[in-house]
Symmetry: C3
Subunit: 328 residues, 3 copies
């Protein structure tokens, strides 16, 4: 995508200083700017780069007064931070809008229902009686089973797999390799020590405005539903087991695992590689730091926890300091 200084000034309600036909095709940090890149300057710490940067276009705040000559064309805006956020959104929206058709190399059925302006990529499969909302983008090689309900303006990247009967809200982003609805890990021991598979007939229900990272798995409930609340953010390679409930706006970093039937509150934040045992309740606003292990209920809201099993993070760091000293 080519962005001219003139166009940027219009889009971001700013003014141009320099060549209004200057053009950028890529973003770069100011210190790495080169011909054809667009950078922004907001933090005074980086001011020296303004004068050395080879970027073609620089977005700066309206109050910035250069102390030396600047090579780049400047686009002055009210607030450089929010301008860049608006710009990234614009670029991202634009990319989405380019895609609006169903590939003849995809597979769907008479009973599949597509809303308006749906994109369906090659080698994707959308099952019987499944409904896909307006504006949803289903990239290549995606699988959506029978009897699913998919909301509006979702983006499913290549290689997403959704088992039959799942329910997915609006504005949900699923990255490549995400698997929604595999059977929970339910096995009843037989007297001889072997395992009887417990059938899983429930589903997964995902709210609105959720993003799930690459290769994360969310298992179906044994009965009823595994539930991902509105606004939840899950990073790559996480494991959400059967019948788990995740409260609205909770965020968890990569490789975190939550065992079966655990109920996570709202507005929680988990670092990477956190593990939470099954059948627990975790209070709202709980922070668990990376590699923490949780084996009991957390009833008090707003704690910051660390360790395996977790204890208050300060206590852990103090105890760990003593642990280290002991070896000296």
């Amino acid at each position: 995508m080519e962005l001219s200084a003139k166009f940027l000034a219009q889009l971001l309600k700013g003014t141009v200083e320099g060549d209004e036909n200057a053009v950028a095709t890529e973003f770069a940090k100011i210190e790495h700017g080169k011909k054809g890149t667009l950078s922004f300057y907001a933090n005074p710490k980086y001011e020296s780069y303004v004068y050395t940067s080879e970027a073609s276009i620089l977005i700066v705040g309206k109050d910035f007064e250069p102390k030396e000559p600047v090579k780049a064309t400047l686009v002055r805006v009210e607030n450089a931070y929010s301008a860049i956020a608006d710009l990234l959104k614009y670029v991202s929206e634009k990319k989405k809008k380019a895609k609006r058709h169903r590939s003849l190399r995809a597979r769907w059925f008479l009973s599949t229902r597509f809303g308006k302006k749906v994109y369906l990529g090659a080698f994707s499969y959308v099952g019987r009686h499944t409904t896909v909302g307006d504006g949803t983008i289903i990239h290549e090689q995606v699988y959506i089973g029978d009897n699913c309900t998919v909301g509006k303006n979702c983006i499913f990247y290549p290689g997403v797999r959704i088992y039959p009967g799942m329910v997915i809200g609006d504005n949900v982003i699923l990255h490549s390799g995400v698997t929604i609805g595999a059977d929970g890990f339910g096995n009843a021991p037989r007297p001889d020590g072997s395992w009887e598979k417990i059938e899983h007939l429930g589903n997964v229900v995902i709210g609105n405005d959720v993003e799930i990272g690459a290769n994360t798995t969310v298992d179906r409930a044994q009965m009823e539903s595994t539930i991902i609340g509105n606004g939840v953010r899950i990073d790559n390679l996480c494991m959400i087991a059967h019948n788990v409930i995740i409260g609205d706006h909770t965020a968890m970093a990569a490789q975190t695992g939550i065992a079966g039937s655990t109920e996570i509150g709202k507005y929680c934040i988990f670092g990477g590689q956190v593990g939470i045992a099954g059948h627990l309740k975790i209070a709202d606003h709980t922070t668990i730091m990376a590699q923490g292990g949780v084996i009991g209920n957390i009833r008090k809201e707003g704690q910051v926890l660390l360790g395996s099993p977790v204890i208050p993070a300060r206590q852990y760091m103090k105890a760990y300091a003593l642990f280290k000293q002991a070896a000296e």
Copy 2:
């Protein structure tokens, strides 16, 4: 699927009390029952829900005597627990039987051999000289390389990948994103500190009645075979490295990793996020609790272990209590 009270009574060898034409299309826990759902009541703790439940059909034991009026149609059976297990099995079998054809949008070869009643979904690929047993269901977008042997009545969900030369038993369930047979992580250091790839020409051999969860990876052996025993259960996002051997009926929870050439006994149970180093032997009936790390052989059977590195779980919890206290 629609299930009437009449049909349920026949299937489960029970009797109907109420409207024999009452119909359910979904399962729900008794406390969440609503019109069109089927619930079961077995644990006296939940008796009060029998009288308030809006479920259309309730499965109850033959000896249950209601103390208040019940809205739902009752299906009385010998034992409510085993009836529900039978019913779940029936539903699950029925789903399987519906699928019996090979999609013309799949790819296979003259030398590929399919048994009777095999399902092959769109965009799946089954290689040359590969054999697939009777009744196996290969869903959409599955890859099976050349020279593989797949047993009877397996289910491979969309996006399963099986490299060439692998051997898979009967009744094996592989969930979406499972990868069987990628090269082991074998690298020999060169004098200059760079790595020489060690070629992996062995395979993976999976026994009968195995289930492997979504996005788990099982690497091929360097020579000979990585072996998964009969009746083994592996949860999502686990890593089974090259030349590992897993004994019959061992079960491991999500995100567990086992490094190269380690031999795991029979009837072991591992919690989530367990890590086991390479070239070790783990005795039968070993339990390793979540996030445990194993760096030495475990020779004594039947231990319950915890910590990194693992020690007896009780000892760990006691030592950890002292660790916490030290900071107070």
Copy 3:
């Protein structure tokens, strides 16, 4: 593949003792040799197996003097170790060379550019303006988005996903389920506690001679590039977050995770399930043992670290010994 003793002697510059028409189709360890297998003998510890092995062909060093009769045909070579390495390479190369065409069931565009001798499997998708170098093998069901640059002699196994705009060097091996270029986990908190997605418009740049294991994910940079250096080895199910830089010849075992913007040095070695926090610098030649957690910069080169957070491995093991004793 059938290998005769005569052919092996030619290939490995050795001599045959026994039936030069003896044929092997598989490799096996000497102690597991059977008819049709090829084994090698180099370590005197295993000499007794030479006399009992049922292998059809045995590769041995030129100086080996049998003390008892040997059933197998011997192929004598200068050095048995390097002969087997040469042989494995030969077999592996031969497998690659068999594949040289583009499937009509794949999808590509007029603006897609393929080098010479490229293989493209069924149900694979290669986007617009993407360039693929000579000799690269793109197996079945692979996705490569628009505007990517892929080098020479790469191998992408089934189910690899490469988002648009990525850059991949020569001789890069990506195993099944690898995802390159998903959005980084970037979320800015709104005043009400919900999350604003931070758009990610950067890419991933992978050097030459890199191998990445099954189901590993490498996220795109927010701006600019996530960088994987030359000769890097990444095992299965690892997570490389947005804007991470990994130095040349670093190797990391399975299920390791590296958070956003961290810079890893050259020649580092990480065990399995290691976690490294974001925005850190890790010195060259750092070894982090399995399950280690890193929360601060590591400035001194060549350390061996362990624990969460990591401390020198010796110190950790000593402190852990005291920790265990405390409970006795």
